[in-house]
């Protein structure tokens, strides 16, 4: 029986705008994530996905409902630092997460905050830097790194604290294609090889398809949930939500619409489309 490391029950997040309006950024979220799962959360800006992410490490607290990670309730003040050590968070802007003047100093920041003994810190730092493939850049200054490298340093800084859950809030939004690839490869590796549970917030559909499960958010609610295939094959619904649909699914849809070709409904990649078409 795989454990549920994240349990969200009826989560509501409320705030007031400058004009005095009351907004429910999260309107009753229910979610269970098992150890080792790779969950992608997609939705357009304003759907509440970032807000949800920030509840997972107690940066935000519920208005009502609850968030429990590794058995710890986020509302419990005494568990705050344990929660933040176990639920690592990576943000969107690569620059605004790095505080030190060299890579290894920055990666050491987390362990130093935890009061870990110096030789142990050295070990954590070296392992984390190796895990993201930046050994060659250990003593370099952050401003000399590419966007993708900076984000990998940010990720290393988090895994140096040995969390078991990694939450990434649109980590690739500000990167170029190469940087996005680097970061996604790193995340996939950490999930597959180190068993880290990953919650990946993104609006890039080509990243969402890499997940075990996809959650689609709209106006503070989860409106679609399932495997990438299950979710993205609902082309019409995804389009209504003004989100990207994988190109092959769109193609499959237009081919099927005219009653011309009856292709399987869950064609996701180019290869799958080629295989499906070649059966004709």
């Amino acid at each position: 029986m795989v454990k549920n490391v994240v349990v969200v029950e009826d989560l509501v997040h409320r705030y007031h705008t400058q004009q005095g309006e009351e907004i429910l950024a999260l309107n009753g979220i229910n979610l269970n994530i098992a150890q080792g799962e790779f969950v992608a959360v997609i939705g357009h800006n304003g759907s509440g996905k970032s807000t949800l992410a920030k509840h997972l490490n107690a940066l935000l607290l519920p208005f009502s409902g609850s968030v429990t990670v590794n058995g710890m309730d986020t509302k419990n003040k005494e568990l705050l630092w344990s929660i933040r050590q176990q639920v690592g968070m990576v943000f969107q802007n690569p620059d605004n997460q790095l505080i030190a003047t060299t890579v290894e100093e920055d990666v050491a920041f987390g362990p130093e905050n935890l009061g870990i003994e110096p030789t142990e810190i050295r070990k954590c730092v070296d392992e984390a830097i190796a895990a993201v493939g930046l050994e060659m850049h250990k003593t370099r200054a952050p401003h000399l790194l590419s966007g993708g490298q900076k984000q990998r340093v940010a990720i290393a800084g988090i895994i140096a604290m040995r969390p078991n859950i990694l939450v990434l809030d649109e980590p690739t939004a500000m990167l170029d294609p190469l940087g996005r690839k680097e970061v996604m490869q790193t995340i996939m590796r950490l999930n597959r090889e180190e068993g880290l549970t990953v919650v990946h917030i993104t609006h890039f559909m080509e990243e969402a398809v890499l997940a075990d499960r996809v959650l689609v958010m709209e106006e503070g609610r989860i409106v679609l949930e399932g495997s990438p295939r299950q979710v993205f094959s609902q082309v019409k619904r995804i389009k209504e939500l003004r989100l990207d649909v994988p190109q092959m699914m769109q193609l499959r849809d237009v081919l099927a619409k005219e009653g011309l070709l009856d292709l399987p409904p869950d064609v996701l990649t180019v290869e799958e489309m080629v295989v499906a078409l070649c059966r004709f």
Binding site: L59, G110, N113
Partner: protein, 264 residues
């Protein structure tokens, strides 16, 4: 010319001075500066000069680099020299209508000029031979030892500021270019109009800095930062034999300066 400023720059190296504990360097700098200000005779300044040259040689930093670091200060240097040269009372050795140069003026001018040069040079040497991290660590430890409150927070502020200087410079350039593309002119006009023209540059910079601070704080909190309490450091500062030796050398210098000043 901005590139030539040596204070704040770090040049990695392996000299004796590089390898000294930053605390040693900071405290030694204090004693050096005091010794420098104590000197007031030709013999005294000779002593300071010998000691200064000795330190520079130990650091393996090229004299050219240090000389270049003085370039931005040439106005102050000329001013110092001229003021002392022309305004000191005493035995006149040269005169042209109201302008007069005295022997004492010559002496004072030379001494003050040297003081300025040595001050800037040795301070530059501190930053040239000490990495920013080591420097802020050293400052933090020294402040803590002096029971200065919020020592850790001050050091953290310094580290973050140092880390973001290149980033801010880049961002300033970007905003400048974006505004120039809209016809903004930062180069022409009188003082007032130039000041006004900075608004399209400063407002965005301020705003992005605030946003940056906000996001940084969130990231730091997410990494369990809660101030200096119970915090460890990966790189430990350890005093070595060379440090004690360095202290001895500096204290001898200081002693010699005191003796020269008050007993000779």
């Amino acid at each position: 010319m901005l590139k030539d400023i040596t204070i704040g720059q770090y040049v990695p190296g392996d000299s004796v001075i590089h390898r000294l504990d930053p605390r040693t360097k900071i405290i030694s700098l204090f004693f050096y500066m005091t010794g420098l200000f104590v000197a007031n005779s030709a013999a005294g300044y000779l002593g300071v000069t010998v000691f200064t040259v000795f330190i520079i040689l130990c650091s393996q930093i090229r004299f050219i680099t240090l000389l270049k670091g003085l370039k931005p200060l040439w106005i102050i240097m000329v001013l110092t020299l001229t003021l002392h040269l022309f305004l000191t009372e005493g035995t006149i050795i040269w005169q042209w209508s109201v302008l007069k140069i005295t022997l004492e003026g010559l002496r004072q001018g030379a001494f003050m000029l040297l003081r300025l040069i040595y001050l800037v040079t040795i301070t530059s040497l501190l930053t040239l031979t000490t990495s920013p991290i080591a420097l802020t660590d050293g400052i933090e430890k020294v402040l803590k030892a002096l029971y200065v409150p919020v020592a850790h927070e001050l050091a953290m502020m310094m580290t973050i500021a140092l880390r973001f200087i290149p980033t801010l410079i880049e961002e300033t350039e970007k905003i400048m270019k974006a505004q120039m593309a809209r016809g903004a002119d930062f180069d022409s006009g009188g003082l007032l109009s130039r000041a006004k023209s900075l608004i399209p540059l400063l407002v965005p910079l301020f705003l992005s800095s605030f946003r940056r601070a906000d996001e940084l704080a969130m990231a730091m909190e997410s990494r369990c930062y809660r101030g200096g309490e119970n915090r460890t450091r990966m790189k430990q500062l350890v005093m070595k034999q060379t440090d004690y030796f360095a202290y001895a050398v500096v204290l001898i210098f200081f002693g010699v300066m005191l003796v020269m000043r008050f007993w000779m």
